[in-house]
């Protein structure tokens, strides 16, 4: 009972905040709504027993991705009115596609559940409740899926190379801080102790 209440609460908040993400006028507010959606998504994950994924959702998506979004949104000078104009122009077309997708989901949910080929309570790939999520994922990741794990590392390497190739350029005339030179500089190299007599001043 309490589970059902929690599910409907989280699910409703996810849907509402997702709708507000795309409909709020201020991009910063959109990001905030997105963060709320992520948090409630994490709640849903906890409900189905995927606590590790819930944590990932909070740490990675809220902690890193959404904050990054926030930075980008604040740095970009977005003309809300111009974006709105685009929405108005493609509203009909978007609505058509949304309706088609919705009809497909209904049709397919009806087809799958209604004809009994999909048993919602039964899982095709059963999970072992005795092992915590994180153990199970770790065991699979470093044994059975080691090949894919390594390949995913290569994907990240490509992302890094790509970012550097596309954005890095040598700038001429930039002065860099040379820390070892700064540290090696002694007071006697830079300062001079003089004893000027009265009325004479200092010769530089």
């Amino acid at each position: 009972m309490i589970q059902a209440i929690a599910f409907y609460l989280f699910a409703a908040v996810v849907v509402i905040s997702a709708a507000l993400t795309i409909s709020s006028r201020n991009p910063v507010h959109s990001v905030m709504w997105l963060i709320l959606a992520f948090f409630n998504g994490a709640g849903l994950m906890v409900l189905v027993g995927a606590e590790f994924i819930a944590m990932l959702l909070v740490i990675v998506y809220v902690g890193a991705v959404a904050v990054l979004f926030l930075f980008v949104v604040m740095m970009l000078d977005i003309e809300v009115a111009e974006v709105r104009a685009g929405v108005a122009r493609y509203f009909g077309f978007g609505l058509l596609i949304a309706a088609a997708l919705f009809a497909e989901i209904v049709f397919y949910a009806y087809g799958a559940v209604g004809t009994g080929s999909l048993q919602l309570a039964q899982r095709v790939a059963p999970i072992n409740n005795a092992v915590p999520n994180i153990n199970a994922i770790g065991q699979l990741l470093y044994t059975r899926y080691i090949f894919i794990f390594e390949a995913a590392g290569l994907v990240l390497l490509v992302a890094m190379i790509g970012a550097i190739v596309l954005t890095h350029r040598e700038r001429g005339g930039t002065r860099y801080q040379n820390i070892s030179r700064q540290n090696a500089r002694r007071p006697e190299d830079a300062t001079r102790n003089t004893q000027p007599t009265v009325g004479q001043g200092v010769q530089l």
């Binding site: 899982r123 090949f147 894919i148 994907v155 490509v158």
Partner: protein, 480 residues
């Protein structure tokens, strides 16, 4: 499960990965000066990986509990991929040397190597996860390569367009994968095939449709082709050649693997999709090319058209059909690389790259050898005997007719006549128009490669037909 045996089967991938990482270090410390060294080493590494295919990589069977398949089919496709990647690296220095300010950097060959690893994973995937990670590795390198010329706005546009649409396609593919996983309980091809054999459920059917839509996007088959002309036009020419050859092979091989190994029992379902994509690609590729003035756009439409013909072979769904697809792809890769090498020779006396059709005019008088080679590639792409492109088309149509798809073969045949029009227009411009430009003399290595490709598509290539036919059949039979 023996770990050492598993690692022996992925030896080509290991060689390529180790080389890519080591060369990256060389590039990081050596800077711009080591570009030439890195390029040369990369080409040799690709050859080394090709030689490594002689080992367990071509007959080992399944590695990593079914995630990776090392069979003759994968080995055949990898030979094509590694070869095309090597040519893309060889083509590059000459091209980038002539752009205004966009130098070739050592990252170029390294990204090609990484892309080749991804392509290799795609063609030997035994699991949807391997397939997806391989696809992402290949695509991510491709996005960077497409916008490699940072000073050129068209190159940047190509990269961005490819990235956004590619991400959409990956999303569609992943959605399909998640549906198939949810309804079959596994991502292993063998288990998925069992689920499809066990009876149809709407979830599996929807998954199939989404997965094929994702594959069609990667293949640039109609109706998911719209990115192709812009990306091919904007990307640097050697990169375009790479997209049109190595990437096509990997996407097609991935499609074949999914269709035959994972969804073989659902032949009747995916055949409709493949037949539609095939007919639409053949017709749109042929009609769309007619008005093009830019030679790279023309070749982009030509690639769409050719994807349509290869899909005819896949629609047959038999070992003969798959063997015809591999046969077609081999010849197509040679013709395409040859055509792009000729496009690379198109530059005026100042060394500026030319891309319009008009600049080819009168080539037969200024550079008769080059014009002859280009004419042969064009005739071959149009499928005119006795050039090898004819045999390729014959093989796929034959497979389709054997499988009872007579109407498809007839439509394909009719559309190839429309396609012949624009290929012949290139020949007409070269041979019958007044000379417009005199091209600067070309590079010797590239000249050699053009001559080699032209010899391959010429009647001399008939000598290779018997061994090639036998090899493609062995490769195809390893899937069934």
């Amino acid at each position: 499960m023996n770990m050492a045996a598993d690692f022996a089967m992925v030896l080509p991938e290991e060689i390529l990965s180790a080389a890519a990482i080591l060369l990256m270090l060389v590039a990081a410390w050596g800077g711009q000066q080591v570009t030439r060294l890195v390029s040369i080493v990369s080409v040799f590494v690709l050859f080394g990986a090709g030689i490594a295919l002689l080992g367990p990589a071509s007959y080992g069977g399944s590695a990593f509990s079914g995630l990776f398949r090392a069979d003759a089919f994968a080995a055949f496709c990898k030979v094509l991929i590694y070869g095309a990647s090597a040519v893309a690296i060889i083509m590059a220095p000459d091209f980038f040397g002539r752009t205004s300010g966009d130098d070739l950097r050592p990252e170029y060959p390294i990204l090609i190597l990484l892309s080749a690893i991804g392509s290799g994973m795609m063609v030997s995937a035994g699991d949807l996860l391997t397939l997806y990670v391989g696809l992402e590795l290949q695509s991510l390198s491709a996005y960077v390569l497409a916008s490699f010329m940072r000073r050129d706005s068209r190159s940047g546009e190509a990269g961005l367009k490819y990235f956004v649409l590619g991400a959409l396609a990956s999303g569609i593919l992943l959605y399909g994968i998640s549906l198939v996983y949810g309804f079959s309980g596994s991502t292993l091809f063998a288990d998925i095939a069992q689920a499809y054999a066990g009876g149809r459920s709407p979830g599996l059917l929807f998954g199939l449709v989404f997965i094929f839509a994702g594959i069609a996007f990667k293949l640039a088959a109609v109706p998911f082709h719209m990115w192709t002309p812009d990306v091919y036009e904007g990307a640097p020419t050697p990169v375009t050649a790479f997209f049109a050859s190595a990437q096509k092979v990997s996407a097609m091989a991935m499609g074949i693997r999914v269709a035959v190994e994972a969804m073989g029992p659902a032949l009747a379902d995916w055949r409709q999709i493949v037949i539609f994509a095939s007919m639409a690609s053949i017709i749109l590729g042929a009609v769309g090319a007619i008005g093009q003035q830019n030679i790279k756009r023309l070749l982009a439409y030509s690639s769409i058209n050719n994807v349509g013909f290869t899909l005819v072979g896949l629609a047959a769904g038999t070992a003969q059909g798959v063997s015809a697809v591999l046969f077609y792809l081999t010849i197509y890769v040679v013709m395409t690389l040859g055509s792009f090498l000729v496009v690379l020779q198109m530059r005026d006396a100042d060394g500026q790259q030319l891309e319009t059709m008009a600049s080819l005019s009168g080539l037969s008088r200024t550079r008769p050898g080059l014009a002859l080679a280009m004419a042969m590639f064009m005739f071959s792409l149009a499928g005119i005997p006795p050039l090898l492109g004819f045999n390729a088309k014959l093989a796929v149509f034959d497979a389709a007719v054997q499988a009872g798809l007579f109407p498809l073969a007839v439509i394909g045949f009719a559309a190839s006549v429309i396609g012949a029009y624009y290929y012949l227009r290139v020949v007409k411009v070269m041979y019958f128009d007044e000379p417009a430009h005199s091209f600067a003399p070309g590079d010797r290595v590239e000249g050699g490669l053009i001559a080699l490709s032209a010899a391959f598509v010429s009647p001399l290539g008939w000598l290779l037909l018997a061994p090639l036919g036998a090899w493609t059949l062995t490769a195809a039979q390893s899937l069934f």
